[in-house]
């Protein structure tokens, strides 16, 4: 399109252009030119700068301000020496200029060139717009990093992904680096390093953006791109994959969760179980797999409809959750327990309990689930009761792999069904019995303490030379009304696990002190009583307070109360043990090291433990005097104790020859069946009044 108020110019320019095939639109006035431009969309505009009415500058501006005219080439025609007007025309948006007088022979070529470069520009602009648009849609930004010049080029979408306005690429670089989540930092650095070494790498990381948002970013880096060979550069893209991740998550939700209850489905449960099995293998913990089947679900479904059935399933899943809530499971050995629920389909649910140290509470939990599910519920106006059957398999006893455990739990569940439903069945019945017994024992132990079924027996410690009774070791016994005497070996572990050991231990100390006071009234001879301290008691921070209170209450003289602590317990935390022993010594108590020589060798510590007595374990004594090795060890223990000014007590002395051997080696005191087994207090009292006769070969 030509715009000039001079008809001669218009005519000549038109002729020149028409000769090479251009279609020409003419206008002798700016306003008319604008209208024609809007109507006919010319490819190029030639405009005279000085015209009456609207001049060329205003015309340029007007064209540029329209969407259509943003990119059209505008060539202004001006006088040869008019630099000022050329500059002004550029400011108004002119693309190029032609100087008068026009050289017609090159005029048309100029116009053709301008048009072509403008087309090229526009096509670059278009493809760059398309690229930007494509990047925006794909949430993909690209950047190039010049390693030599340490310069970064960043595409617009990159800024948008990071939610920041277009900033200096250097600022963006810092922003990018600081946004990488700390857990992803290392991987990020490795990926950058790889790219600098000329390799391609992909890295997905979490970016913490300045606006507080977090986005999943997938970064591709390529230091080897062929087209960038000219310099040492890394080419890269960053893509916002947050939405994709969300989509993946919802796909996962669909694939791994039951749509009715929201519980994990069979596949996810298997994943959970598989992970738990790996963990349990390392930590030597147990896992319980429960199969739960509703006994009368089909009836509910048939009589009340599927919707009611779905409501029931939801309610059951909620009740399962409640039954497993750890706050209700206070017992210590389920402190590390994790649970995982799933619906396998139909009316079948599974429960996994992992991180178990024992299985004592598994049955209790299963019973609780059973009771909770059996509670009546309202379904579409009807009061409905459903019972359930639970089969349990335990790792590793009932199977070491996923399939075996699932199969066995299923089998156990069918066992319940065949025996009349509404019950719990362990795959391994003996195991169930064991867990049952243990629980029963614990509850009976509570009763035992309340009903004074516990009692102390006393075993004398005798002077090796004079056979005089020097003291008694108090030993706990449980006389069960039905079972008779229950061995401490059976009930002490139960007491320890249930936490009963602490009150029980205090009871032992107190009872021993009272017994001492009772005996003092019938004899004038000096003697002591000793009490064993278990690991749990020794670790109890209130131990010393408990002892002090008992001494005050029973008026027990501390120097006649002795605590027997095994070497193993002392060595569990030798430094803490030393402090407690020091406190005991300050209080005037006696301390003996029990079972010496059987545990972790503590000879180097021995001189730091302020103990009064070493007790030689019966294991070394039982084959004396003929076992040469035991003889050597025992002799060494005696010599060691003597060297450290400690008294020596030999336990488990049963024969005269053992007594004689001990005497020969210089052992001070003898404890064992040779003189007396542990006996009730009445019989022990007789030994105080009526000492043993001297035994000499």
């Amino acid at each position: 399109m030509l715009i000039d108020d001079d008809p001669v110019s218009l005519l000549v320019m038109a002729e020149s252009l028409q000769e090479v095939g251009f279609a020409v639109i003419e206008s002798n006035d700016g306003h008319k030119g604008l209208t024609l431009f809007a109507e006919q969309h010319p490819a190029l505009i030639l405009v005279d700068l000085q015209m009456p009415g609207m001049d060329g500058y205003t015309f340029c501006k007007s064209v540029r301000s329209t969407p259509l005219g943003r990119d059209i080439p505008i060539v202004v025609v001006t006088g040869v020496d008019d630099v000022e007007s050329i500059e002004r025309a550029y400011d108004c948006g002119a693309t190029d200029f032609i100087i008068k007088p026009i050289r017609w022979s090159i005029f048309r070529h100029r116009i053709q060139y301008i048009l072509r470069s403008s087309n090229a520009m526009q096509s670059v602009q278009r493809s760059s717009n398309l690229l930007a648009e494509a990047q925006r849609v794909a949430k993909l930004g690209n950047w190039t990093w010049d390693l030599n010049e340490q310069k970064l080029f960043v595409s617009e979408e990159s800024y948008r992904i990071f939610g920041v306005p277009k900033v200096d690429p250097g600022v963006f670089h810092k922003l990018l680096m600081s946004s990488v989540h700390k857990d992803d930092k290392k991987g990020f650095d490795i990926a950058v390093q790889k790219a600098s070494d000329g390799e391609a790498s992909d890295y997905a990381f979490l970016a913490c953006l300045p606006n507080g948002e977090s986005k999943n970013i997938l970064m591709h880096l390529d230091g080897s791109a062929e087209h960038l060979k000219s310099g040492h550069r890394i080419f890269g893209t960053i893509q916002d994959i947050t939405e994709r991740r969300k989509a993946e998550e919802s796909v996962r939700q669909l694939a791994y969760y039951d749509s009715i209850t929201g519980l994990p489905n069979r596949d996810l449960f298997k994943e959970h179980l598989s992970m738990a099995l790996h963990q349990a293998e390392r930590s030597k913990e147990k896992i319980a797999v429960m199969f739960l089947d509703l006994d009368n679900f089909k009836r509910v479904n048939d009589s009340l409809g599927h919707e009611a059935g779905d409501v029931l399933l939801k309610a059951v899943s909620e009740r399962l959750h409640e039954s497993l809530r750890s706050s209700d499971l206070a017992a210590r050995d389920v402190a590390d327990m994790n649970s995982s629920l799933a619906r396998l389909g139909g009316d079948e649910f599974t429960v996994m309990l992992s991180g178990l140290h024992g299985i004592e509470h598994v049955e209790m939990i299963a019973q609780r689930i059973l009771e909770r599910i059996a509670e009546p519920m309202m379904l579409s106006g009807n009061r409905v009761c459903v019972s359930s059957s639970i089969g349990i398999a335990i790792y590793p006893e009932d199977g070491e792999d996923l399939d075996t455990l699932l199969r066995n739990a299923d089998a156990a569940m069918y066992e319940v069904k065949s025996q009349g439903r509404n019950g719990v069945f362990f795959y391994d019945n003996a195991l169930r019995q064991q867990s049952h017994d243990r629980l029963e024992l614990e509850s009976e132990l509570h009763t035992a303490i309340e009903q004074d079924q516990l009692t102390l027996f006393y075993q004398p410690k005798v002077d090796a030379e004079t056979c005089q009774v020097l003291g008694f070791e108090a030993l706990i016994r449980w006389i069960h009304p039905e079972r008779g005497m229950v061995s401490p070996i059976d009930f002490i572990p139960v007491a320890e696990e249930s936490g009963l050991i602490l009150p029980m231990g205090a009871w032992v100390i107190k009872t021993a002190c009272r017994q001492y006071q009772a005996w003092r009234k019938v004899t004038d001879t000096e003697f002591s009583v000793s009490v064993n301290l278990s690991a749990h008691q020794f670790a109890d921070e209130h131990l010393m307070t408990t002892i002090r209170d008992i001494l005050i209450e029973t008026e027990m003289p501390a120097q006649f109360l002795e605590f027997e602590i095994t070497e193993t317990v002392l060595m569990q935390d030798a430094d803490a043990a030393m402090k407690i022993l020091d406190q005991m010594k300050v209080m005037g108590l006696r301390v003996s090291i029990d079972d010496f020589g059987t545990g972790y060798s503590s000879i180097s510590y021995l001189k730091y433990f302020p103990a009064d007595v070493l007790k030689i374990d019966r294991e070394f004594v039982k084959d004396l005097p003929h076992d040469e090795q035991d003889a050597t060890i025992t002799n060494a223990i005696i010599l060691l104790g003597k060297a450290l000014n400690m008294g020596i007590v030999a336990e488990g002395v049963e024969t005269e020859s053992q007594l004689q051997w001990m005497r020969d080696k210089g052992c001070d005191q003898i404890q064992g069946y040779l003189f007396s087994p542990p006996v009730p207090p009445e019989r022990a009292e007789k030994m105080l009044i009526d000492p043993f006769s001297l035994r000499h070969d």
């Binding site: 001079d6 008809p7 001669v8 110019s9 005519l11 000549v12 009456p52 008068k100 007088p101 017609w104």
Partner: protein
């Protein structure tokens, strides 16, 4: 004297018929511009003179009427100095120069 530079005319695009058309258009438009300048002198309308001179300067250069173009340029330049009397003289000279161009056109191309 360079009333009508035939070399310039030879470089113009188009054939002889086109050239005649160009010259006719020129004669017509230059007459209009001359009248505008003369009116401007009469009414002391400097803007009108300036604009007409500017257009006629390039228009006449385009058809090789170099003397006329030169005069117009001088008028344009004199505008800045505000020399009214001189401008009036130069406009009269332009009128004469244009007359020469017209006769030349007619004798050479527009027979």
């Amino acid at each position: 004297m360079n009333i009508l530079d035939t070399e310039v005319l030879q470089l113009l695009p188009g054939d002889a018929q086109m050239l005649q058309k160009i010259l006719n258009v020129f004669l017509k438009s230059s007459e209009k511009l001359m009248v505008m300048m003369e009116e401007g002198v009469e009414n002391s309308n400097m803007d009108q003179i300036a604009h007409a001179a500017h257009t006629l300067k390039s228009s006449s250069a385009m058809v090789g009427a170099m003397d006329l173009s030169e005069l117009c340029q001088q008028i344009e330049a004199a505008m800045h100095d505000d020399e009214c009397s001189r401008i009036s003289v130069m406009v009269q000279q332009s009128r004469h120069a244009r007359q020469l161009v017209e006769s030349e056109c007619h004798s050479l191309y527009l027979k």
